[in-house]
Amino acid sequence: MSRINNAAEAQPNLPESNTPVHTKVKPGFPMRKGKKPSKKPGQKGFWNRMSKQKALLLMSFPFVIWLVIFKYIPVAGWVMAFQDYKAQFSIFDQEWVGFKHFKDLFNEPMFYRALENTLGMGILSLVFGTLFAIAFALLLNEVRFLTLKKWTQTISYLPHFVSWVIVANIVITMLSPEGIVNNLLVSIGLLDSPINFMAKPDMFWGIVTAADVWKETGWNAIIYLAAMAGVDPQLYEAAKVDGASRWRQMWHITLPSIRPVIIVLLILNIGNLINIGFEKQMLLGNNIVAEKALVIDLYALDYGIGMFRYSFGTAIGIFKSVISIILILICNGFAKRIGEGRVF
């Protein structure tokens, strides 16, 4: 999960407003920002400037081509969803079939199972991921022994940087019948004999969520900790004078102070609810739990590429994008209504 990245993606519209103040202070040192084309405007100026910017043109041209090929041609590939794509013809000579693939999709019971699994695991990860990150950040923020605080934080986001392949291996090893989790549960008497967690379909959502929480809690807490660092210390002093306990300070000062951050991140994550990917499910899943592990992306992968139903697979992708856009718009509208500011 790249919650944090997503959060930071909202940033592009911000950097514009950094420098003008500085430029005014030191007119002799114009910042790059403030640089304006010095020649007179107009068509002649345009060609004039362009001929002087040959190096810039050459430096950007290859990447514009790259963007078109690798980012925009796949979007144009959406037309495949409205065709009966056959590999032997070019994309211009395909038979048009309208919404046939979408109708097929909505008549497929497997699709609803995939949707249920995707939203189920998405919501679980969202709820527990957020709760654990906030709780961990709150507690870490209270630690007075700075060495402990620093080391715990540093160690807590180590799992964020290792791949899901490694995390899946770790989870499977720990949960295996010989693994530590079974050992502990048996030795404290909660289980009579070790169970094979990975072969229990009903536990699969929980295992994926737990793995996600283990991997990302430390990382997701960083952003909350940063927000907590900005809380005015005078508020705590005042609360102390009033005799508030540290629990009450956390509840009445720290939490309300980071509310805007929580809401912005929640909105971004709800917008991505359907984009949970497939890595965890693919790596942790197996034949026994397959019906609980099938998520939309895996479904598209199996049907679209595995069975060569390219048009059908593309239709799944379009469905996903549409849902995602709708979710983002709803959340955005909701955020505006409750007055926390729009994200976009």
Binding site: M31, Q53, V165
Partner: protein, 294 residues
């Protein structure tokens, strides 16, 4: 600062933090211990954070007797190096062009870039594109599709936006062209942000396995550590058949795919640990800046 009395709450916090440290580190230590333990002995269970029957056999298997795993190790390194360098060159150059507000196509290029953060073609059209481009089973599939990320370019550009332009102006008066200004002045000044993005790209390249799975599965020379690990995981899930030992001489009774899996896990984790101090320094400051802004 005056000394405060330790309350129950402080003791609870300390214990809780130690608990977090233990549940984060234990799995790694456990896997390290298993990877250094005799495979047959491991099957008896009970290995925690210290090997019982110490052996290097699992690592010897990877670096000595198994050509494919050694190949995978070098391919992981190669794709990380090439992918990172290519990505850095591309993102920095594009960021410079976009930082030049006087560039005639600034708006257009910026728009094309930022739009990619909001729309994507999806799995199937991307797969078809890679196939059309002939990148299936080609090393290029590790480099081309992830050459540029809009997010990275924007980070570099905002760093460049805050550089003073005096140096650049004087270079221009001396008759330097835009490309020279870029390589001689801008790049050296941007080294901190370039280091950040380089780490970002390196971690991404080192950790990826899905592109191998989807696009380079049938080319053995392109296999990576992450993909080999994924195959063992996948295989252990489906049947008892074992991929690792197919064309390998297993050191008699000392190792098996499950233990080799642990050794691969450790080898795939160590580089992350090695760059971890740097990761921490750059990533966290970058992330925190972004967080405070938004």
């Amino acid at each position: 600062m005056k000394k405060r009395k330790w309350t129950t709450f402080d003791i609870f916090l300390t214990l809780f933090m130690l608990f977090v440290v233990v549940i984060t580190l234990y799995p790694f230590l456990n896997i390290l211990a298993i990877s250094l333990n005799n495979a047959v002995d491991t099957a008896k269970g009970g290995i925690h954070i210290w090997p019982r029957d110490f052996t290097y056999a699992n690592y010897q298997e990877i670096f000595g007797s198994n050509d494919r795993l050694l190949q995978a190790f070098f391919m992981s390194i190669l794709r990380t190096i090439v992918g990172t360098i290519a990505g850095i060159i591309a993102s920095t150059m594009l960021a410079y062009v976009l930082s030049r507000r006087d560039f005639v196509f600034n708006g257009l290029v910026g728009f094309l870039l930022v739009l990619t953060m909001f729309i994507s073609g999806g799995l199937i059209p991307e797969y078809m594109l890679i196939r059309q481009l002939g990148l299936i089973n080609d090393f290029g599939v590790y480099i081309w599709p992830m050459l540029i990320s809009a997010f990275n370019v924007i980070i570099i550009r905002s760093f460049m936006d805050n550089l003073p332009s005096a140096l650049e102006e004087s270079a221009k008066m001396d008759g330097a062209n835009d490309f020279t200004i870029f390589t001689r002045i801008i790049v050296p000044l941007c080294l901190p942000v370039i280091a950040t993005i380089a780490l970002f790209l390196a971690v991404m390249q080192w950790n990826s396995w899905f592109d191998t799975y989807l696009y380079a599965r049938s080319n053995e020379t392109l296999t990576t550590l992450q993909f080999e690990l994924m195959k063992i995981l996948d295989n252990a899930n489906i049947s008892s058949g074992d991929i690792t030992s197919q064309n390998a001489e297993i050191v008699a009774g000392q190792t098996n795919p499950q233990s080799i899996k642990m050794a691969i896990t450790i080898i795939a984790t160590v580089p992350i640990l090695m760059i971890y101090p740097f990761l921490q320094k750059y990533f966290v400051t970058g992330l925190t800046l972004g967080a405070v802004k938004s």
